[in-house]
């Protein structure tokens, strides 16, 4: 075994890429949960976004059009969940699980003719001479646009939730939907919009896997990232910046175990493959000791009685 075979620059650049799908999916779900809705369908929306993005990128030849289609696809499929839970007042847990199964099945159907094709590549952002700075250049400034977009999205969500009136209303609806309704806020409308935002983000996350990280289409290729995103939101205590740290921790561990497999560490592959999930959850459980952060109305259906 030779640990020096791991190149630190490539390692860090790699884990930023590994964390990005998770960031997209988790930040969307964070907004959804902050409005008091528990959508367990993240995995289903991701895989739907992965195939929508992949198909449109292949057909049009434009990866950015693919990402746009992924966002739209994720938002559209999330409307199914919004209809069930916000209009029909169905149970949120059951509806979310159904959405995941539906998304997995639908994507497999849509993706039949796309197996084995290579999608068009999204080029790296050109930072000009800055990209030539040693270490910082290759680590931070040699990535595609969507990776930076994910970062910007987290910061934007943090700013909106914390400093704007829109964010205050979102948090209020999640905290006590009856009180928000009494003050005249449209609870169902706000939640539906948040669910669609969550769907669009999950779709982007899925497309990031199928267009950039892996670049190809295989059935079920999101491989549980949606579930990790759900866990991440809870263990990050619904805080965007803590969520970012958790996502990088997970991405780092994924990259590390891949590298360790490559250099032939004497640990069975199965243990290495499960380690990012186990370690991320353990660390976040420790971080999330304060349990009071959960939105007060999380998972409860709202019905305006008179």
């Amino acid at each position: 075994m030779d640990l020096s075979a791991i190149n630190p620059v490539l390692f860090i650049a790699g884990f930023l890429v590994a964390a990005t799908p998770l960031i997209f999916a988790a930040i969307g779900e964070l907004v959804v949960e902050r409005t008091g809705v528990l959508n367990l369908g993240v995995e289903g929306m991701m895989i739907a976004g992965a195939i929508c993005g992949f198909a449109v990128a292949v057909e049009t030849g434009s990866p950015l059009a693919g990402f746009a289609a992924a966002a739209i696809g994720g938002a559209v499929i999330s409307l199914l969940f919004a209809f069930l839970t916000q209009v029909m007042l169905a149970n949120q847990v059951a509806s979310g699980l159904a959405l995941t199964l539906f998304g997995l099945g639908l994507s497999a159907l849509l993706g039949q003719s796309y197996v084995g094709i290579k999608p068009p590549r999204l080029g790296d952002v050109d930072f000009g001479p800055l990209a030539d700075i040693p270490v910082i250049g290759p680590v931070l400034l040699s990535h595609d646009l969507m990776l930076y977009a994910a970062l910007a999205l987290v910061i934007a969500v943090w700013v909106v939730l914390r400093f704007t009136r829109l964010g205050l209303i979102l948090r209020a609806v999640g905290e006590n939907h009856d009180a928000a309704h009494a003050l005249g806020y449209k609870v169902v409308r706000i939640r539906t919009a948040a669910i669609m935002f969550g769907g669009a983000c999950a779709g982007l996350g899925g497309a990031y896997i199928s267009l950039i990280r892996v670049p190809q289409w295989t059935e079920g290729m999101t491989a549980g990232v949606g579930w990790i995103a759900l866990a991440l939101v809870v263990f990050a205590s619904w805080k965007p910046l803590r969520l970012l740290i958790g996502a990088y921790l997970f991405g780092g561990l994924v990259q590390l175990q891949l590298n360790l497999q490559a250099v032939g560490v004497a640990i069975p592959v199965e243990y290495l493959a499960m380690s990012p999930y186990v370690i991320t959850i353990v660390v976040l459980v420790i971080l999330s000791a304060d349990r009071t952060a959960a939105p007060g109305s999380l998972g409860r259906n709202f019905h305006a009685s008179s």
């Binding site: 205050l168 209020a172 006590n176 928000a180 003050l183 005249g184």
Partner: protein
């Protein structure tokens, strides 16, 4: 006086019930107008129409002579109508300033808003720190948040829905001074309450609703509380009676009962001690959130406590769970009817089974005897005059008062040695409340000991032999209830919680 708001022939029907039937009333600028009525008389529906939460089916509203039909609360607020809700419409996890911003149109920047909150709270004697988290505030302080939220909009009409139910007597006095000052400045106040003495002290006029219709108006200061109560109920009221009795030996003893809070917004119990004797009623007062729920949980066995703190007939029962305590004869009925005292979607028979299984022998060799449970449920329904189609009805389908009669009756019928009840008549109309109080007094007369935890001081004075108050999780010394006056009770409840009188 010119009319600020006139309601003409407002009608609102829900499936199966006419909530408001041709209701008319008018309020002048600066007038304090009381809206009186039993639960279900249509008071809430009426104010919801004024506040834009509900649209009337028929009739119209006029604001200063112009048509007024708010489509939503935002429009009502823009027209100068503010409302302080009965069940606070506050967000526990947000700060005071954030809560207030949510109730305002065009809320200013947080820093400017904080300054305005400080200024208004100073002017009206309602001290409040804008940065505190609402979940940490007392009930009185939360109400201040709601009032200040309204005052910042400079309302022409302020609707107050049962504002005093959570306040100590001293806090009520200060609230009234604030309201009188607002009224003197020309703000009209629509005041909903069923505390008649308060209405007599505060209001200029009163409209009485029964069954959705206006059944009368009066000038409260010239009408007795009894006359108003009888207009509300539409019948002559029976006041519970009690026979003088001598308490027997000690049946329940608490010694230094301490327990941590059960959740983040709960209250720890601190060194609570008292003796309870057979045949007596101990009334425990105090503002909500001062340890009432925790005390009930510790007594019922939902929360177990360390050894040596709770003694029942000389046995240490601190570690026993509710079923074991029930078997011994210590029964409890919690405050929340739906979801705590009764399972909403289960039938009355099933609910009767849930607490009655052990003492009524509804369970034999591990099998449930549903016929016996049904008989037991029928007995409760008959003896406590529960209005329901039968024991097959779900708990949720009963009105609040009827379900309350059922859950109290269910415990009383099990012949408890000690019965603990929390808010036995909360949200229950006057005649049902009188029946429940009478049942508790009868139970004590038959030799049981009863603990009544309540925020309704009139109720406590009516039923208690001895009185104590909870404040910050501590229990005051117990005192004979006879002859206690309001000022003494207020002191026992913790005084004014830092309120002061309006400054201008």
């Amino acid at each position: 006086m010119t009319q600020l708001l006139s309601l003409e022939g407002l009608t609102k029907a829900y499936p199966g019930v006419v909530a408001n039937d041709n209701v008319s009333l008018s309020i002048a600028a600066g007038e304090v107008h009381a809206l009186l009525g039993e639960n279900g008389a249509g008071k809430s529906t009426l104010v919801k129409m004024i506040y834009g939460l509900v649209k009337p089916d028929k009739g119209r509203m006029l604001m200063r002579g112009a048509d007024y039909a708010p489509a939503e609360p935002r429009a009502a607020r823009a027209a100068g109508v503010g409302m302080v809700f009965q069940h606070f419409s506050l967000f526990n996890a947000l700060s005071v300033a954030e809560n207030i911003a949510l109730g305002m149109e065009n809320a200013p920047k947080m820093r400017a808003l904080s300054a305005r909150i400080r200024a208004v709270s100073e002017t009206y004697g309602l001290p409040l720190s804008p940065d505190r988290i609402v979940g940490d505030l007392s009930a009185g302080e939360r109400q201040r948040v709601e009032i200040i939220r309204c005052l910042l909009q400079e309302p022409k009409l302020l609707i107050m829905d049962e504002p005093t139910s959570v306040l100590t007597p001293q806090e009520v006095d200060i609230l009234f001074q604030t309201l009188r000052k607002l009224s003197a400045e020309g703000t009209a106040i629509l005041y909903i309450s069923h505390k008649l003495e308060e209405i007599r002290a505060l209001c200029d006029a009163a409209t009485i609703l029964r069954g959705g219709k206006v059944v009368g108006t009066c000038v409260p200061s010239e009408t007795t509380a009894r006359e108003m109560a009888e207009m509300m109920v539409g019948a002559v009221l029976k006041v519970p009676t009690r026979a003088g009795k001598v308490p027997g030996e000690t049946v329940l003893k608490l010694e230094g009962l301490s327990a941590p809070a059960q959740n983040a917004f709960g209250m720890p119990l601190r060194e609570i001690g008292f003796d309870l004797r057979t045949g007596e009623v101990l009334g425990i007062g105090g503002v909500a959130g001062n340890g009432q729920d925790e005390l009930l949980a510790a007594l019922s066995g939902e929360m177990t406590v360390k050894p040596g703190m709770i003694w029942f007939q000389g046995v240490d029962i601190g570690a026993l769970r509710p079923t074991a305590r029930r078997a011994l004869g210590l029964l409890a009925a919690p405050e929340e009817r739906l979801g705590h005292a009764a399972v909403p979607d289960m039938t009355l028979t099933e609910n009767a089974m849930l607490t009655g299984a052990a003492r009524e022998r509804l369970e034999r060799h591990g099998l449930l005897d549903w016929n016996a449970a049904k008989r037991f449920a029928n007995n409760i329904i008959e003896r406590f005059d529960v209005r329901t189609p039968g024991p097959g009805a779900t708990a949720r389908s009963l009105s609040g008062g009827n379900l309350q009669k059922f859950v109290i009756g269910r415990e009383v019928m099990q012949r408890p040695e000690v019965l603990v009840v929390n808010q036995p008549t909360w949200g229950v109309d006057a005649s049902a409340a009188a029946a429940i109080r009478q049942a508790l007094l009868d139970l004590a007369e038959q030799g049981a000991a009863v603990i009544v935890i309540s925020q309704d001081l009139d109720e406590l004075m009516e039923v208690s032999d001895r009185f104590a108050a909870l404040n910050e999780g501590r229990l005051s010394a117990t005192r004979p209830a006879l002859g206690l006056d309001v000022a003494e009770i207020g002191e026992m409840m913790g005084g004014t919680h830092g309120m002061e009188v309006a400054h201008v």
